[in-house]
C-alpha cells in the first residue's frame, strides 16, 4: 500500500517502539519512529529504560501490529528472550518482534531462534524497516 492510500485508510499499522536496557542512546529509535510516522503508521513510543513487562503490557493495551526494541547496552542476550517469552505468555507471539542496536552476528542468530523476527543493525535503512513491517502485517 503506498503512502497516499495509507493516509486515508482507516486501518493504520500500529507499532510499539521502546528502548530496553540501561543506555540512553535514542538517536536511532527516534529517527525510525519519525520514518514510520512518515510512512503513515501510528507509532507508540515508550521511551528509555523500559522493562520487558512494561513493553509487553503496553503492546497488549495498544493492540500493536509490531514491537520494535532497541538495545545498545550489551544486555541483549538477557532482555530479548525475556521480551519474547512474555509476548508468548500474553498471547502476542504472532506479532513480529524486531530488534536493533549493537549486537554481534552470532548473538543475533541465537536470538532469532528465541523469538526475534529480525534485527536491524547500524547501517540499516529506515525504508527497509518500513517495508519489513508492512510485509509482516500484510501476511496476516
Amino acid at each position: 500500500m503506498n503512502t497516499k492510500s495509507r493516509r486515508f485508510s482507516k486501518n493504520k499499522i500500529r507499532v510499539l517502539l521502546a528502548k530496553a536496557g540501561l543506555d540512553g542512546h535514542d538517536r536511532g529509535i527516534k529517527v525510525i519512529a519519525m520514518a514510520l510516522r512518515d510512512a503513515g503508521m501510528e507509532v507508540i513510543y515508550l521511551g528509555l529504560r523500559r522493562t520487558p513487562e512494561e513493553i509487553v503490557n503496553a503492546a497488549l493495551e495498544e493492540d500493536v501490529d509490531c514491537i520494535g526494541v532497541s538495545l545498545l547496552s550489551g544486555a541483549h542476550n538477557v532482555l530479548y528472550p525475556e521480551i519474547a517469552s512474555l509476548m508468548k505468555k500474553k498471547g502476542l507471539a504472532d506479532k513480529p518482534l524486531i530488534g536493533g542496536g549493537i549486537i554481534p552476528e552470532e548473538d543475533m542468530a541465537r536470538l532469532r531462534k528465541k523469538g526475534v523476527a529480525k534485527f536491524f543493525t547500524p547501517g540499516a535503512k529506515t525504508e527497509d524497516i518500513v517495508r519489513f513491517i508492512e510485509g509482516a502485517v500484510r501476511k496476516k
Binding site: 510512512a39 515508550l46 512494561e54 503490557n57 495498544e62
Partner: protein, 253 residues
C-alpha cells in the same frame, strides 16, 4: 465478537484492547459493539484533560492515576495525539510519562491518533471510552491537545472538562478567550514552580468571575506535576463534581 465481549466482562485486557481497535477501524462492527455495550455503560466518570502540548497533561494524569489506584478505583486512560495531515501517521508519546502500572490489571492505558477527528473527540475515541466503561473502569481520563476553539466538542462527550495551562506557553489569556473558559469545569495552572503561575491563576479567577452563565466558580488549582504537588487537590475537585456531572449528563441524554 461475542467471544470478545464475554472476555471483556471477565476483565481480560486483551479483549478490551481488541474491541477498541474494532471500534476505531470498523464503522459497522463499531456500531454493533456499541449496541451490545449500551446496557453496561454509565459507571465511568469521563474526565477530559485538555491543554496545549507541553503543558504537562501526561504527568498530571500519571499523578491522578497513582492517587486513584491508592483509593482502589479502576482507571482507564485514553491519550490522543494529532495525526500528521501529510502522511496520515502519528507519534504517540504520552505513555512515556505514565509508567509504573504494567503489573496492575485495574489500569488500562490506550494511545489514539486523532485521525480524521478535526477537533475535540473523534467518534472512535468516544467509543473507546465506552469500551473502557463497560470494561469496569470507574474513571476514564481522556487527554487531548487543546487547540483553542476546536476542543469545545470535548464537553459534549465527557462529564468533566479539566483545562490545563502553563506559564510561558504562549498567550494563555488568549486561550481563555477562545471558548475554553466556558467549557472548563476545572482549571489547572501547571508548572506552579514558575514565577508566572500565580499571576495566571489570578487572571483566570478574574475571567471566571466575569462569566454570567456560571452560578458556581470553577475551581482553579495550581500544580507542579513533576513534583506531585497539587494533584490531590485536583483529584478532590474532580471527584467532587462526579455525582453532579454524571447526573446532569444522564438527564440530558
Amino acid at each position: 465478537m461475542k467471544k470478545l465481549l464475554k472476555e471483556l466482562f471477565k476483565g481480560d485486557k486483551s479483549a478490551a484492547s481488541r474491541l477498541i481497535s474494532l471500534v476505531e477501524n470498523d464503522e459497522e462492527k463499531g456500531k454493533s459493539i456499541m449496541k451490545e455495550l449500551k446496557p453496561f455503560l454509565g459507571r465511568a466518570h469521563l474526565v477530559g484533560i485538555t491543554g496545549a502540548a507541553g503543558s504537562g497533561k501526561s504527568t498530571l494524569i500519571h499523578g491522578l492515576v497513582g492517587l486513584l489506584r491508592k483509593s482502589g478505583k479502576k482507571v482507564g486512560v485514553i491519550a490522543i495525539d494529532p495525526t500528521s495531515p501529510l502522511t496520515g501517521g502519528a507519534l504517540l508519546g504520552d505513555r512515556i510519562r505514565m509508567q509504573g502500572h504494567e503489573k496492575d490489571k485495574d489500569v488500562f492505558i490506550r494511545s489514539m491518533a486523532a485521525r480524521e477527528g478535526v477537533g475535540g473527540l473523534s467518534k472512535a475515541a468516544t467509543r473507546a471510552a465506552s469500551v473502557l466503561d463497560a470494561f469496569g473502569m470507574e474513571v476514564v481520563l481522556i487527554e487531548t491537545t487543546g487547540v483553542g476553539q476546536s476542543e469545545t466538542a470535548v464537553k459534549d462527550v465527557v462529564h468533566t472538562v479539566v483545562v490545563v495551562l502553563t506559564p510561558g506557553l504562549g498567550d494563555d489569556v488568549q486561550m481563555m478567550k477562545a471558548g475554553l473558559m466556558e467549557i472548563g469545569d476545572i482549571f489547572v495552572v501547571n508548572k506552579g514552580d514558575l514565577k508566572n503561575a500565580e499571576t495566571i491563576a489570578k487572571e483566570l479567577e478574574d475571567l471566571a468571575a466575569m462569566l454570567p452563565q456560571r452560578e458556581k466558580k470553577p475551581p482553579i488549582i495550581v500544580t507542579t506535576a513533576t513534583e506531585e504537588k497539587g494533584i490531590e487537590r485536583l483529584l478532590m475537585a474532580i471527584m467532587a463534581q462526579r455525582t453532579e456531572r454524571m447526573e446532569i449528563k444522564a438527564l440530558l441524554k
